[in-house]
């Protein structure tokens, strides 16, 4: 080692130094050449992990209303695992085919008329040779006209069939205004076409001019204040972003959007996929999804919570409280051994014999102390523990009942 680091001759050192330097430059150059591929791989990987984090957020925050599998729920929220949202428009495809065929028909008829005029021109009659040519051309055009008419008939039949398979989805709220034209002749003029131009996809239906990502992100940030009108028994979608007063950071909003956009099946959507989704929160035809809105969160108004417990006769269950404490809210991750937070064991005893003797807790009941500690953990931190460690959002995450369950569990910890 010493021999290697202390090369005796000056030229040896110069040579070794230059070799090392050139070697380093070659390595860096080699890395630089591969950077494009590495960065692309990183973007793919990051997008994958973003979807994973979004899935986590969706399961804990969104699944309650939008359904665990994104199919939406009765009278609560629309499905997101939804071909309509992703712009899959099978009726529109057929309508477009009909329109194209109609345009071709117009052109073919014009061509035919022109030839007929030429053929029947009395002042300037075509030569015999030209007459034969025209007759042949007209016959060819008539064949084409028949082909286009057959195409229209096929597309119309296809459209009727598709609309038939979508009946259940329409019942589920797919096209709210469909009834207004349902009875009109579906093959007639362009009424159906106009309808699907403005209703065929979710974005056209709500008149959104941007792309789907922007629509999803905007909805996540600001919520849907107006959705309470569509879902009479629901509460409307809350604003989720911190910029709009919600709980989520911008990167979490992006994670959620990445997850929601990952429902897209692209070319693989089928009309069957429409049937599983609650479109506008209407009850599903088989009524299989729950109808109860989620109970409101407890909040952090300690006395208000206690008053509601009395008024609504909410009684906590220590058994479910323990489950919530251990698993759902993970309290035991920290409240164990007293290393990073006070031990769960002995909570009641400590509160009743030590904490409540402190001057600032004069007049507190053990319940009040516990509710305050859970919903407003920053108000008082026991000496020898760090402040700011306990999340401050339990009040938003728990319902009155859950909070009461946990408090009644803690009351058993003597």
């Amino acid at each position: 080692m010493g021999r290697l680091l202390f090369i005796r001759s000056i030229e040896g050192r110069i040579l070794a130094g230059i070799t090392m330097f050139v070697g380093m430059m070659i390595l860096v150059g080699w890395v630089a050449i591969n950077e494009e591929a590495r960065m692309q791989a990183f973007v793919r990987q990051h997008n994958g992990r973003s979807i994973e984090r979004g899935a986590e957020l969706f399961a804990s925050l969104c699944a309650e209303c939008h359904g665990e599998e994104g199919y939406g729920a009765d009278n609560r929220a629309p499905g997101l695992n939804n071909p309509h949202l992703f712009g899959f428009d099978p009726v529109g495809l057929q309508t477009a085919a009909i329109t194209n065929a109609n345009r071709a028909l117009v052109r073919l008829n014009k061509d035919t008329d022109r030839l007929v005029v030429e053929l029947t021109d009395a002042e300037n009659p075509p030569s015999a040779e030209r007459q034969n040519e025209i007759i042949a051309e007209v016959e060819a055009l008539e064949t084409q006209i028949e082909e286009q008419q057959a195409a229209i008939e096929a597309a119309v039949a296809e459209r009727i069939e598709i609309l038939g398979t979508l009946d259940k989805a329409v019942d589920n709220g797919l096209f709210p205004q469909w009834e207004s034209i349902e009875d009109s002749d579906r093959t007639a003029d362009n009424e159906v076409e106009v309808f699907f131009n403005t209703n065929g996809t979710r974005l056209s239906q709500v008149g959104w001019a941007g792309d789907l990502h922007g629509y999803v992100v905007t909805t996540l940030i600001h919520g849907r204040p107006g959705s309470a009108r569509v879902y009479p028994s629901g509460t409307g979608m809350a604003a989720w972003s911190q910029t709009a007063g919600g709980p989520l950071r911008q990167d979490q909003i992006e994670d959620l959007a990445a997850y929601i956009l990952n429902y897209d099946k692209g070319a693989n959507w089928t009309t069957e996929d429409f049937l599983a989704v609650a479109q506008y929160g209407k009850p599903l035809a088989d009524g299989s999804l729950p109808t109860e809105p989620p109970p409101p969160p407890a909040g952090d108004d300690v006395l208000g919570i206690l008053a509601r417990w009395d008024a609504d006769e909410i009684v906590g269950s220590p058994v479910s409280g323990e489950l919530l404490y251990d698993a759902e809210f993970g309290c035991t991750d920290c409240h164990r051994n007293g290393a990073s937070a006070p031990d769960t064991v002995g909570t009641f005893t400590r509160i009743s014999t030590e904490r409540l003797t402190l001057p600032q807790f004069t007049g507190y009941s053990v319940e009040q102390y516990l509710v305050e500690s859970i919903t407003r953990p920053g108000d008082y931190v026991v000496d020898s523990y760090s402040s700011g460690l306990m999340p401050t959002n339990f009040g938003v995450r728990m319902t009155d009942q859950q909070l009461a369950d946990i408090v009644s569990f803690l009351l058993t910890q003597e």
């Binding site: 010493g2 202390f6 090369i7 000056i10 030229e11 050192r13 110069i14 070794a16 130094g17 230059i18 090392m20 330097f21 380093m24 390595l27 860096v28 890395v31 630089a32 590495r38 960065m39 990183f42 990987q45 990051h46 997008n47 994958g48 979807i51 994973e52 899935a55 399961a59 699944a63 309650e64 359904g67 665990e68 599998e69 950071r249 911008q250 990167d251 979490q252 997850y259 990952n262 429902y263 897209d264 099946k265 251990d326 698993a327 035991t332 991750d333 920290c334 164990r336 051994n337 290393a339 990073s340 031990d343 920053g378 020898s384 760090s386 402040s387 700011g388 460690l389 999340p391 401050t392």
Partner: protein
Amino acid sequence: MTILPFPSFLDDVKEKGFKKAVFEGIDDSVERLTAGLNVQDLREAFRGESASRRPNPRLTPHADGFWLHMRPSYFNRDVTGMYPTFRLGWLSSYFVFFETITGILLMLWYTPSPEIAYGDMLTILSNVPLGQLMRDMHRLGAEFMVAVVALHMMRTWITGSYKKPRQFTWFSGLILLVITGFLSFSGYLLPWDQLSLWAVTIGASMAEATPVVGDQVNLLLRGAPELGANGLLRFYLLHVLALPALLFVFFGVHYYKVVIHGHSLPPKKENIGEDSAKRVPLDKRVYFIPDMLTYEMFWLGATTFIITVLCIWFYHAPLENHADPQVTPLGTTAPWYFLWIQGALKLGDKFFWGVAFPTIALGGLALLPYLDVTPSRRFAHRRFMLTIAMLLVSVSTVLSYMGLAKFAVQTSAETEIVHELTFEPAHSKVGIGRTIPFDQMIVGAYTTAQTHHQDDMSTNDMIARINAETAANGQFDQMIQELKNQHLGANQLPLRFRSVPADEAPKLMQVMQEFAHHLEDVPEELPNVWGALVITDNQGGLKRLDWVVSWDTVLIEGGNVQLDEAGEPSLVYATEQVAMTDSEGNPVLGDDGEAVMEEVPVLDEDGNPVPARRIYSDHLFIHQASAYFD
């Protein structure tokens, strides 16, 4: 004649001829640039010949030039070898400049704001060519720098180089050590990921324990009760402005003192009580030009090459999820060089171990040269101080070990085990549960009970028996209820366990075996345990993995399993509420006319009490493109 007021190159050409004028012009320029060496001098120097001019032109750059005026013009041959310096001082200086350069490059892509900082990290990794390499180098250089500076201090202690007249050199070096620690620590926060937020939260909370001003210090440092926008900005300014400025000032002071007193010789090379570093005999002189200069150029190339190789193949700076003050990750630790304080904190009082103890330790180090005033630097005469040095090394090693999350901070066994299997990538490690290749995550519910294989039973029979048992005793339904609570879709809930398809999914099999081993390792905390892994499709390219642990509840107090007289863990038995009956079997009614309920133990068919069954679950999602398994 020229029109210019001074002689020009053209005059030279007229006077001497073109060739001579050019050569002399070049020679002149080289001599100006090197502050004293002309082409001939350089040629001689790099050929290893002695200088032909007198006075020796190789000394002039040290006397006249700016860059070399701080460097000694010659060294004693006894200090140029590996021993006694191990090049640690040189390496420390190297890292100061290395970190400055890589740091400035990273500053181009960084904004110190909680909304942007993490996104900047992603940009550096996803959209800046060589960005990842630069970040890896800066981070690895920082870790090396802390280690090298600490080793440099140990070396100085061991060779007794802090002794008179170098007391203040030692003291300034100690200040540099502290600044290095804080520089590294303040840089820790900047990526604004979970790792940085929580490591710094823990570190900064130590300041809280300072008496009287603790809260104020903490507030000044964090800018708010919790680390946020102000805290990040403060740490950033500390990292790029205040601390580097201090570092460069004390770096100058320290090196000035080193040169003033000369590099201390190996202890046995000088007489006891004598400092002969500045008296270098002629035959021992190694001149900076050309010997040390070429050495340093070589080391510069070699060290940078090694770091480049390490950062390409062996080291990547960690980046965890976005910082989230609401989610405390399991097993948070301070950076490794502060682990000793974290370990000490587990010994007891926060003020004593978190503030007083480090202060006393640093104070003791600062005073070392003034306390140890014995004249001899020979190892044989310094047994006491060398013992103290070794004690210091041992104590900080033990304390650092105690600082690790696995020491004395026990989360419940089931949480630990599932975390061990599923933790997200951190420090180049990842939970094995995430490394199952995507096509081996075959949808189904699998149980570790399958691995309790018995010779006389086929796997399928085994699974059938497990399914029958868990259905009969309600444990399967308990799992289903737990999965529902965790928002697993109603259509996704498994109907029964199936056997692990070991042929198609060997990695899945391996993970299940690992899961089983972990569960069997803690029979006291988790009696009669089984684990389950439920794999479901969530979206295209996205699977959900639910990890479930089910076991008989045991009494745990203060983190310890309570044992009964037989030495077996004390079980908690299930109870149920039933209507109380009197001796004739009629329900007892209360004052309100309602049946009075009583709590009675649940008994099995044989009349034995049934242990209360506990269940725990956690889930994660794996996307096809996440590449945890690459």
